[in-house]
Symmetry: D2
Subunit: 345 residues, 4 copies
């Protein structure tokens, strides 16, 4: 059994990690940390898990994590993991970090969007954990920077197409929509029920920190500078993310070309489902799952491709992909502990 | 492996059965029937299950069910199962019926609330599948009448207390609230989004068919006639049921007496969670699970007990309890295929 | 024109007052106060009102209120109004207080549920502003204690019946359900979207401060001690309150007796709508309005009356009733500024 | 007083018309028709309006409409109005048609998206009722084709900019999101609560009939062929529409140029609110109102303009704009009966 710890276990992504790891056939949860709830049983914070997750939340202790864990998941606000992770890596622990701290191989780029980086060397070595794209590198990774939810939903449909140069990358527009759990569990006026209910709005328009993260990976995969327009919106629901992507085709590309390209890339990937012609994804179809469903359509008069992807922002967009990364780096099948039949409603 | 069929697989309760059985370690799904979608792949009706449930919906055929199934779940509107089930039972198949057709051992009582019964003999022999109360009878049952969702949520907290005569049964008031999925998947103005959203109402006030079902079981367990006041309400959400029960205590009963009584009854029941003093249940804590959480409080000036229970109406209130019944009658542990860690949100 | 001020204008009840008063044909808004947003334009806090409400929020100043207002609405947390209101009353201003501070004529009772009262004399003189019941006293009132939302929804159906002694008051059970806006605009984990969405729960079970407020008025009107069981619940929606009341009839009371009693009491009250037999209220029907809709049914086997009322908790349950109180005490028709055709959805 | 009739009064747009007209100071409602509910009082279909709208629904009768109405609003599915409207116009009645039947001046274009047109001459004469753009023509119009909800939300921000040639029109992408009431009141699986709740999806991707309607007006105003990519999505809420528009700037256009252009166009239009820099609209801010709020931002690295508009799809997107059209054509101030302070929540 793999001994796993979750640092920052009481946020929504942390608690989702606890849920998945708690049912994982090859994992035993050993340490849960929470600054706010240290000393309190986890199932008092999440009474849904009463009697199932019986650990008590602790303060963060490197020694305790090193002694008790093989793998550590850090689900903390950015700037905190960079102070903890180096010591864990130094002790040969595997770490999957869910913050932005280890997503950028270029510390300068990270620092231009966030704040100074305390561990620039590790930053360069960390592997970007977009499982279906970087599977080979993840296998041998020690430190994995788990992708952001928006980048996951945007990159999975785009990467195969930009790699094959099927799109004019300067025309890419990403209109993304997320459920409220993406904002985390911290108290905030913008997450209050009466402010969200029966409301739809854009936020951080062309100013979201996931924009440079998306650009970085597209630039890497397209092998030329890519800079997209990215606008996130907030949906009045708890979980789910739908991303609509627009781009002009690079030439006389047909529906079958797009399908062939995506199929070749994802044919062996159990978590990416390519929808048949005439079908489009719904966040409901992937809710509570690690799937990314992708549909597309060409709008011929404008030679424009419309790509639509859906994920559950807390699963494939956070905790699920983190566990998938652990599975890959620990030599397990990537679906282990992540497959269950989706709910009909 | 147990070969299982679901008759009426595309309604919400049927689809939830498909979900649970599809993940059940000792079951293989062999037949799914749907009048409306016969000939269509199940995962076209529920695209969430694409690639996971690959069976095609069929018309109902007794021969096909008999040939291919050990256990058959009938998830059909009442009055239809009574025409199908007798032939299945005659062929020694186990049947769990989710309609009201086999819940009443007294056909006359059934007929007073529904319509004439075509199979009065079977009606008398069927076992009422309230798992935690009738576990022993279920073990040897051939035909199980799966309880209604409201009766499940009302009876679990009440049965132990009326058995011990702790309540004045003539004072019992049951104020129940259900999510919309309880109304099923058929088109109906009362289930349209804009009619339900931001709306709360009572319906079938003191006139719901689950009222006599509740009375029947309480009468049996109290060993005297019990007739409760029952008012259901509709909550603007998909899943979940909370039932608030009021009853005057039969004498100088204390909080500890109530707790002791419930604990004695449910101490060994993995799906009934009794909450600590000062804690009250939330439908969210049992969503997507087979749990029934129970909290209570005595209101001393009025010597009145307030009992609150929550279930997921599609799981413990329908498909989950049906599978629990199958587990019991097939000699499996009752939690088999029904335990997974609940979602944090 | 009546010059009106709103103290505590940026909470939900305060903002709803601003909305109603802003459209009121005989009112001009002169002062809006907000500790948190002093110095900021009101329509920056509520952008929906951009260009319509152009006042800037101010700190509370008694002099300013006295100079600029004929009527002052105080929409503040309890314990604060008692420090401000006496000075306003001393200057012969009319005050409608939306907190609990002036609802209890018996300061000792107030102090048993809240905290010491700083203005016990005024407490005794204030009028309880349940408009349809105390209309005559409100006409000449200087200080009106605006009722709580739960008491409004419970008392309107009950008062006529207990006055006529049609109910066994010791059997009264009040099962109330409220939308989330009732909890106010302050940040709170229990008001976070992801904690409320797809969730239903009871809270402050038989321990809510509106319970003694209900008991006080029922005791007054029944002319004997009344003590009810009261359980509030939270509905996943922003606005609306439905209250289901159960009570045993005091004798051989018939449906027509109940109807006659309620009709006699409310026949001339434009804001109370008594539904026809077989119809039950829905919170949606009174949303954004000052109506209270009432339906009822007798459950004959148990000789129990079921009363159901709905209000919009922010209108009839707070700001609307406050303006209705102002209308009455200023000699206007009580519907002035409060009547508009309800929205279909 | 203007005598007004609503044909198709019980759909959501029809009922919203009834609401607005019922409160309109210069209108008296004389005729409401409904095929489904003929003979039934309107307030039985919409109990929210009990005691306020006391008319009974009727079958459609041209004679009755001609005798009793000065203005007729037709809120029917397309293809039906074209059979009724000609007779009303022949009798010199003013007609505002909310369907698509009279939006296209080119019958051939209409027929390419809908079906053969029975009244091609009237089609050519009708005025497209986008109030802020075609105010002068509307003043003298007899027949007004009320714009679709999506076109209203897309055209208001775009028209001034394409008229001034500030955008490369071939790059325009419109990503629109609508609440569920836009789908109307007819029973449909896609409008069932459990199918919509906690769900977000695109539909009719690049295939919606509002696409050619948008293209037609942009082509007219740009004075060159314009063909946009248009993708509508469904939001899990009842009312509200947010439209995000992307287009490359036609040259070195600055934020101030955009603002100046929009301000010049809408400076005198009470229902269009241009937001300050750094502010973006929220559907909640215009809910239940006739406002269209517009925000924008330039994404400099890509020289791309992001425009965001919000409307209430049933008000500015349907019934409100229809009444605004009536106001204009009847010589009233366009805000008459359409201005009330928006709700804070």
């Amino acid at each position: 059994m793999i001994k796993a710890g979750v640092v920052g276990a009481t946020g929504y992504a942390g608690a989702e990690l606890v849920r998945i790891l708690s049912d994982h056939p090859h994992v035993v949860l050993t340490v849960l940390t929470s600054r706010q709830f240290a000393g309190i049983r986890f199932d008092r914070v999440y009474p849904a898990m009463s009697g199932i997750v019986t650990l008590t939340c602790e303060e963060i202790s490197i020694d305790r994590l090193v002694d008790s864990c093989d793998v550590i998941f850090t689900a903390l606000p950015h700037s905190i993991p960079m102070k903890i992770v180096p010591e864990l890596i130094a002790q040969n622990k595997k770490v999957v970090d869910l913050s932005a701290d280890f997503r950028f191989n270029d510390p300068a780029l990270y620092e231009s969007c966030y704040q100074p980086h305390a561990s620039r060397g590790l930053c360069r070595d960390a592997i970007y954990g977009l499982c279906e794209v970087y599977q080979d590198k993840i296998k041998t990774a020690g430190l994995i920077g788990n992708p952001g939810c928006y980048p996951t939903s945007a990159l999975l449909p785009l990467v195969p197409l930009v790699k094959q140069d099927l799109l004019k990358t300067e025309t890419i527009v990403i209109d993304a929509k997320s459920g409220v759990s993406g904002a985390g569990r911290s108290l905030s006026m913008t997450s209050q029920y009466c402010e969200v209910d029966e409301s739809f709005k854009a936020y951080k328009v062309a100013a979201h920190r996931h924009n440079p993260e998306i650009d970085m990976i597209l630039t890497r995969e397209a092998e030329k500078p890519v800079s997209v327009t990215f606008v996130p919106h907030l949906i009045p629901m708890a979980r789910g993310m739908l991303t609509t992507i627009y781009a002009t085709l690079s030439g006389p590309v047909k529906t079958d070309d797009i399908r062939r390209c995506l199929k070749a890339f994802y044919g062996q990937c159990p978590f990416v489902r390519l929808l048949d012609d005439g079908h489009m994804p719904d966040t409901r179809y992937v809710r509570h799952t690690n799937y990314c469903d992708i549909g597309f359509k060409i709008d011929p008069p404008r030679e424009r491709l419309i790509l639509i992807s859906v994920i559950d922002n807390l699963v494939k967009g956070a905790a699920g992909q983190a566990v998938q990364n652990m599975n890959i780096t620990m030599g397990l099948k990537d679906t282990t502990g992540l497959m269950h039949t989706p709910f009909p409603v």
